[in-house]
Structures are given as C-alpha cells and as structure tokens.
Symmetry: C2
Amino acid sequence: MCKLPDKIRIKDIAALAGVSTGTVDRVLHNRGEVSQKSREKIEKILTELNYQPNIYATALASKKKYTFITLLPEAKKGEYWYDIKIGVDNAAKELLDLNINVQQIFFDQYNETSFIQSINTILIQSPDGVLLAPVFKEQTIILTKELRIKNIPFVFIDSDISELNALSYFGMHSFKSGYLAAKLLLKDEKNNSDIAIFQAYRTGNSESNQTELRINGFKKYISDYYPDTVIHSVKIYAHDTDKNDKILKDFFNHYPQIKKGVTFNSRAYLIADYLTTNYIDDIKLIGYDLLEKNVIALKKNKICYLLAQRPEIQSYKGLKALCEYKIFKNKIKRTNFMPIDILTQENIDFYQEFTII
Amino acid sequence: MCKLPDKIRIKDIAALAGVSTGTVDRVLHNRGEVSQKSREKIEKILTELNYQPNIYATALASKKKYTFITLLPEAKKGEYWYDIKIGVDNAAKELLDLNINVQQIFFDQYNETSFIQSINTILIQSPDGVLLAPVFKEQTIILTKELRIKNIPFVFIDSDISELNALSYFGMHSFKSGYLAAKLLLKDEKNNSDIAIFQAYRTGNSESNQTELRINGFKKYISDYYPDTVIHSVKIYAHDTDKNDKILKDFFNHYPQIKKGVTFNSRAYLIADYLTTNYIDDIKLIGYDLLEKNVIALKKNKICYLLAQRPEIQSYKGLKALCEYKIFKNKIKRTNFMPIDILTQENIDFYQEFTII
DNA sequence: CTGTTAGCGCTTTCAT
DNA sequence: ATGAAAGCGCTAACAG
C-alpha cells in the first residue's frame, strides 16, 4: 500500500500513470495530442481516484478573460429591477477573480427604442455570454437570432420566451403563482362572491405575457373551486394618482360587496395606498414582489400576502450559469423555476434580513 | 497618470509604497515587524485603491490546516436532520480546498448518553471550531464551558441557548413561527371554536424549548384575535401507531366540532396518516418541516401548510461562519433567524427542486 | 524591521 | 505525442 495525499493532485495522477502533468492536463481538458494508450491509462486512474481539481489553483492559473453582458431594465432602489441588479453586482464581484468582467447595460422598460439601441452595443462587443430580461418580444427575437449566429449563449430571467430556447431560464412559474394567489385569497373563507383584479396599465407596453399567465392561473383556481365568483377587472394607472383615486372610488362605491382584490404586476401598493387614505380596512389584498412600498403596505396590514420570486437570485444564478457553461463546460438546466415565496406581516422581516448569497 | 492594472495586486501596492510585497503582507495580516512609517503609507494606499485580495491566490498559498467538528443528531434520508447533514456535506466539499477538514460526529437525539460520549471526543481533538445543535441543555453547558476555556469558537443551529453566547446562531424564530401558524390556521375562517394541538411525546427528552416557544407564539395569536377559541392538547406517540390510532379515534369522536389542528414538532404526518386511513378530509392541519412524509401528506392535501426553516442552509451557513471567523477574521452576526417559509401544495415543488447553494 | 524566495496546484507555452 | 518550465497572486520562512 503506497500512501496518497489527502487530496489527489494532477501531479499524483501523473506519477501513477508514469507521464507528466502536462499530459494529464491534456486529457482533463480534452485538448488532444495524447496517445490512445496514455489517455486510457490516465482516465482510468482519474475515475478510480475520483480526482477533483483544486478550484482555487484552476482559477488562479487560468489566463483566459471573459466578458458577460447583462441587459436589464434600469431601476431605483426599492424597485423590483433593483433587486435584480443586486444579484448581478454580487455575481460580478465573485467572478472578478475568475477573470470575468460583467458589463451592465440598462434600458427603459417603457421604451422599446432604448432596448433596440442596446442590441447593437452588445453585438459589436461580442461578449462571451448575455443575461437578459426579454421584456420586448420582437426585439428579443432579433437580438437572440444574431447571438445564435455568433454562437454567444444567452440566459433569460424574469420571464421566458421558450421558443427562443435560451441556454437557461430563471424565473417564476407564472401560471402556478396565479393559482396559488387565488387559493390564498379564497380558500375556506367568507365573502367570496365578488373579487377584483387590478391591472396597472403601462404606457408603451402591452400586457405582459407573464401577467397574462398569472391571471390564467388565478382564474383556473376559481373555476376549479369557486366557479360562482364574479371577477371584476379594474384598470389603474401607475403614474396618475388622481385618476386612480377617482377610478377606485367609483369602483368601490359601485361594488360595496367586494372584499377581496389582487394585482398581478408589482403595483399592489397603489391599491393599498388608496385603502389607507380612505380608511378602508376590510379588503383582503394580495400582490406580487417585495417593492419597498409593497413591504410597507404589508407591514401595515393593508396587503395580506405578497408573493415573491427571489429576484436577486435569478440574476445571480443566471450569471453563474453562463459561467458554468462557458468556463467549466458543464451542462446547464434549461428551466429553473424559482420558489414562490409567501410573505406576510409575520415572516417578512426574517426573509428580508436574510441574504442568501 | 500612471496606469494601474484592472485588479490591484500586492505587488502593485508594494511598488507604490516603495517597499516589498513581504512588508505589505505583514501589514495586511497585522503580524507586526513593520515600521510606523511604512505601515501608515501602505495602509493609506490600501484604502485609497480599495485593495481586495484575490481569494483564489490566498486559498492556494495558505498552508494552515483547520479542523471543524459538527455534533448533530443522526438521521435517515427524508428526515429533518438529514437535510441539516446535507448542508454540512455541501460546506465540507467547498471548504476542502481551503485546507479545512470537517469531521462529523452524530448522536442519538433520544439518548443523552450518546451526546455525552461525543463531548470527550471533541475536547481531545481540540478542533478549530464546533458546530452543534444544543439538544441537551445540561450537556451543552458542560461542553461549551470547556470549549470556552480552550478558546474554541462554537456555533449553534436549529435552536439557541442564548445565555451560552455562542459565536453565532442559525435557526428559526420559534415564537413568531407559532404566531404565524395560528394566523394561517384561523384568520378569516369559520370553525374557529375548537382547535387541537398534537404533541408528539418523545422518550428520554422533555418537551424541547423550541416547541414550547412555538406553542407560546401560537397561543399569543389566539389570545390576540380569537380569545374564545378552545385549545385541546393531545399527546401522541411517535413510534406506536396502534396507540396513536386509538388516541386519535377517541379524540375525534369526543370532539366532532374540531376541524383544525397543528403539530409543533415535525410529526404532522402522523396525524395526516390517521386522517387518510379514516377517510377524514375536513380537518385543516398545519405542521413544520419538510420531512418526506410531511411533503407527501401536503401534496395529498392532508396537510394544508408546512412551515419550513431551510435546514440545509442553517448548517451550511454555520460552518461558513466559523470559517469567516477563524480564517478571514471577520465579524460574525450573533443571531441569524432563518426565513419562515410557507409551503402549500402549489409551491412545494418549486421550493424542493430549487437548491440554493 | 525589511527584502527575497520558494512554493500552493493548475494552465499553457515551447521545445523536443 | 510528451515533458519541462514559467507563471497566476499570495503566504510564510529565512536571511540579513
């Protein structure tokens, strides 16, 4: 019995195979120039000893430089896309020592032109990978077609366009989240006769695919379990408080029997604020995403549940996936649905103070 | 303007300060033998340029070896403590290249003697840190007292004994989880007059502190919002199905008005199984932890909600905390409450297939 | 008190 | 097809 070191190194493999470290490295990375005989011998030892490379040494020695580009909506602190950016920043910091540079490009999610302009920037740069939120479908098709030609992998986050077959997708299962929202709103309760769906109208962007899927899921639950429920749809305006006030006032006056509401975008606070201002506190409201304003409304008990989807993990994992694929040549899972987290007044603090990465 | 490399290295700092890399390293690690003058100059440059060491190079060059010991209950696949072990394994794998060895010691959570025996093993070994679940309070006091004398840091997971002032704690906020459980069980609902608390009786171990806190939280919510509710406590037996059957049958026959129940340990499936066997499906049941059997019952709709506490993250983060403290000399947060995750039939799959680390 | 130097395990280039 | 050797950035022992 000869004794082996705690952790097997390339040097050990080489010694056992009677070759040099260079040869072992060549078979490890499949870069040819190795005789059949050596290859087989080395591979055998490799699997027998279950060789695991020292990732620190690998990272340090590697000379290759990589650039990844992210194309995401701009955002201010407290907004959904800002949390996405936090994940990008976290990943970027980690990847720096791996010689990976992350370049962030932002567009205006209400302005398709700003997205179009970014396309060229990306294509000229020819990065090693792209992480993006496919907010504008047509333009995303154009961009990804070019990326495919240049053989640049891309990862979607937040929402998926499955026919474009990205390397990977990280985001919510929108349909099921809507289904869950309905259950949380209605199950075992009284006052289920009428409910309201508040839809924030966004200029310059038609109803997103994601919102639609959430609504479908929501309606499915209702038709499954409470088919008699009447659903009222109310259009509200994200950037016009006065107009909203009037709309909501009219609505609640008109349908006093409505005690339940839901929003499928992240603007639940718009409704919550109205309820607060008008001293209404018998409406059960459900919304999405931990925007600062939503969280405040949740804590004040104006929103009953918020469904969240770990935005900072979506972008973090998206970049790591690119890295795994390009650098470590690993297989990547195509679809990664994020957990649908249910937040209430009682558990929100623990959730927020707990940073996963 | 002289140009600096992308990433500042020790060598760059040394050049700017007109000293050698050895001296820079000495001030970085506070190991003395540096003149006041050099020290100040170097420190100035360090902060100005915001020097961040290359963690890969650091890890590779470091020659020190460390040993951490974990002292946790033994468990089989599908159990709570098995998930805790998964976190340990994950951390151990990551730490291997940092010259850190993680040695796992297991005890029988129903047998104090097995815990006592492990104490000696640990003290003889004199590891660089200990991660443990303080299941047996008296023995934990004895162990940690010795560790303190030997200046060995220790981290608690799962439950805390705050007066022992561990380096850090990772686990649930038991009281608030109980409060939340009550809300999920009762809020806005009918049939709140009578509810049952099922307590699994464990041989050899008195009611744990954790369970007690959960019950307190639960009762607090009820006294806050539904003070008229009658709470029935039922003792069940984890390892005696026949006995359980009889107890539960008697109980439900005696109190047919009870439509809600909760368990504060992880044995909700015991009740769920009874309900299944007896074709009862109008009882709303809440439990804790994603044991395989609990998850099955949740999916079959026999359990309505499961509260979970990310066991595999507790142990993972606990070990990383020891590492941060011992190796990178960083400050560690004393108390780290885990998110209280609310799982239902609808979101359990996404939660389980999503591995965070 | 300071500078020099030999590694850590792996990658990659250059001879052979 | 293969081996030798130079480094990646940092640590730590040693010589002065």
